[in-house]
């Protein structure tokens, strides 16, 4: 296991060269890269990443930050069967909690579709352009706020 980050650096530089002012580097660890992009530009960055070889979405994680009144969506993108297979690329974006609308990346990665649907359901983040933005896991008669928001408290706790 190599603990150097040269390959990751080189990869990130390649992306930075194209999207100099758009992306914000969060961290580069061995085999892990995380960048943050604004929701307006995420589609272009995602398309570029797919062209680089990151061809599958492993997870879409939404996180609620009530302290900064923001919500975060992180796409963890992996490369299947090419030379980047050991790298997990995290592509993050932040939106305001008041009106959480982000563009859907289903057109770039079809594999993001169900993950985005789940994130929509659990956090109430709307993915613009998603073909099927509806209930998935929660009961049909769920009338409460989306459960993964921080103000939703589990019954009987705190």
């Amino acid at each position: 296991m190599s603990l150097t980050t040269e390959r990751e650096r080189a990869l990130l530089d390649k992306i930075k060269a194209k999207f100099e002012d758009v992306i914000k580097e969060k961290y580069v660890k061995p085999k892990r890269i995380r960048i943050d992009v604004s929701p307006q530009k995420i589609f272009e960055v995602a398309s570029f990443l797919k062209a680089l070889g990151f061809n599958q979405v492993a997870s879409v994680a939404g996180t609620d930050y009530p302290s900064s009144n923001e919500m975060e969506v992180v796409y963890h993108i992996v490369a299947i069967d090419n030379e980047l297979r050991d790298i997990v690329f995290a592509l993050g974006e932040r939106v305001s909690r008041d009106n959480p609308i982000v563009p859907s990346l289903t057109d770039v990665w079809k594999s993001a579709s169900y993950h985005e649907q789940e994130t929509y359901e659990m956090l109430g983040i709307k993915f613009e352009g998603h073909p099927r933005l509806e209930r998935l896991l929660l009961p049909e008669d769920w009338a409460d706020i989306p459960p993964l928001r921080k103000e939703f408290k589990l019954p009987g706790r705190e």
């Binding site: 599958q56 996180t63 992180v74 069967d81 297979r85 589990l154």
Partner: protein, 363 residues
């Protein structure tokens, strides 16, 4: 169109689906539309994990996949070790490999039993379920439980393996490698099984990658992708094993990938027993475990595919956010793709060929 079609709800109480509903629209014997409807066993595992400490999450997070409970815990301990700064000692890593592979065998045999009975082969239900006991006994020797082991902890494993374990494990593996040949004769190369599974539910290589298939489903489509090789975690880079890959992408390929993995898992167990170093099995750090501020993403190859955890910590003993990305959930996008334009009788063959585990997908 509307008069011609018949809508069937397969599940959640039909034996063909588990805790899961497939809304299937039929035109004669051909499926024209499929809508997977998960969520019958959704418990909110991610939300519940935010209320539990890193140790308390261990028995909790096993619950979604009780037949592969080590598989679902493995990435969790890897991610939380990164956050808690608790590197495991080398012996623990080998014990983890043995346990994970045992659990892969247990899970694959369970799948094989279900798959056997779902293509109507009663013997292939009872043989794997019976022989699975051998491996459950081995797992019980190590972890003290038969299903939910709660064996991996951040910083190592709970206990060392007993002294008589290596002999017994090698004996069982040697026996079972011979036994699998009988399985091949009666099931995998049985002409009627070939008729049922070959050329059914074809998932092409490009579609498999595009739709997000992982694990045996992906390898059945000819993609050589396995986290154990791609990004060797624990001690998998010390061990010499192969990834079975089949090109056709039909149900039979997915079966054969899992059969190959049974052989490979026994191979890995035998090697790990031989190569295991001595030493402690647990990082003896004391005190309340608090995560350092930051985030970690860890992935492993569980029995069904890439299992991944994304944990965000804000310096408290609890994770701030825990995202569980499970392989079964990714199968949902495959279902419509594979089931449309197939026969009714192929629904169980394809559906169970994906090894979809509803509880895992619902979390």
């Amino acid at each position: 169109m509307a008069e011609r079609t018949l809508t069937l709800s397969i599940g959640p109480q039909h034996p063909g689906a588990g805790h899961f509903r497939l809304i299937v629209v039929l035109d004669g014997d051909i499926v024209v539309d499929v809508k997977p409807d998960p969520g019958y066993v959704h418990r909110g595992a991610e939300k519940m994990a935010e209320y539990r400490t890193y140790i308390q999450n261990i028995p909790h997070l096993e619950r979604p996949v009780i037949i592969d409970s080590s598989g679902i815990l493995f990435p969790y301990v890897l991610a939380s070790e990164e956050l808690l700064d608790l590197p495991p000692p080398p012996r623990a890593q080998y014990i983890r490999i043995i346990m994970a592979e045992l659990n892969r065998i247990i899970s694959h045999l369970y799948w094989l039993g279900i798959y056997g009975v779902f293509v109507g082969h009663t013997t292939m239900f009872l043989w794997p379920v019976g022989d699975r006991e051998l491996f459950i006994d081995l797992a019980q020797m190590i972890a003290g439980a038969r299903v939910t082991f709660a064996f991996f902890v951040p910083g190592g494993v709970r206990n060392d393996i007993p002294d008589d374990f290596p002999d017994k494990a090698i004996k069982v593996c040697n026996y079972y490698e011979k036994r699998l040949k009988e399985y091949e004769k009666i099931f995998f190369y049985n002409p009627l099984v070939l008729k049922r599974t070959q050329g059914v539910g074809i998932l092409k290589r490009e579609d498999a990658i595009e739709l997000g298939a992982t694990g045996p489903n992906l390898r059945g489509s000819g993609v050589k992708s396995d986290v154990r090789k791609d990004e060797p975690y624990s001690s998998y880079d010390d061990i010499d094993f192969e990834i079975p890959v089949y090109k056709d992408g039909d149900c039979w390929s997915r079966c054969m990938v899992r059969l190959g993995e049974l052989y490979q898992s026994m191979n890995i167990i035998k090697q790990a027993i031989k190569k295991m170093p001595s030493g402690p099995v647990k990082n003896a750090k004391r005190g309340v475990l608090k995560g350092i501020e930051g985030e970690a993403f860890a992935r492993t190859e569980s029995a069904r595919g890439t299992m991944a955890y994304y944990i965000i910590s804000d310096g408290k003993p609890y994770p701030y956010r825990l995202k569980l990305s499970v392989p079964s959930f990714r199968c949902l996008s495959l279902m419509k793709h594979l089931l449309v334009n197939q026969h009714v009788a192929d629904i169980p063959a394809i559906y169970w060929g994906l090894d979809y585990w509803p509880v895992e997908a619902d979390k």
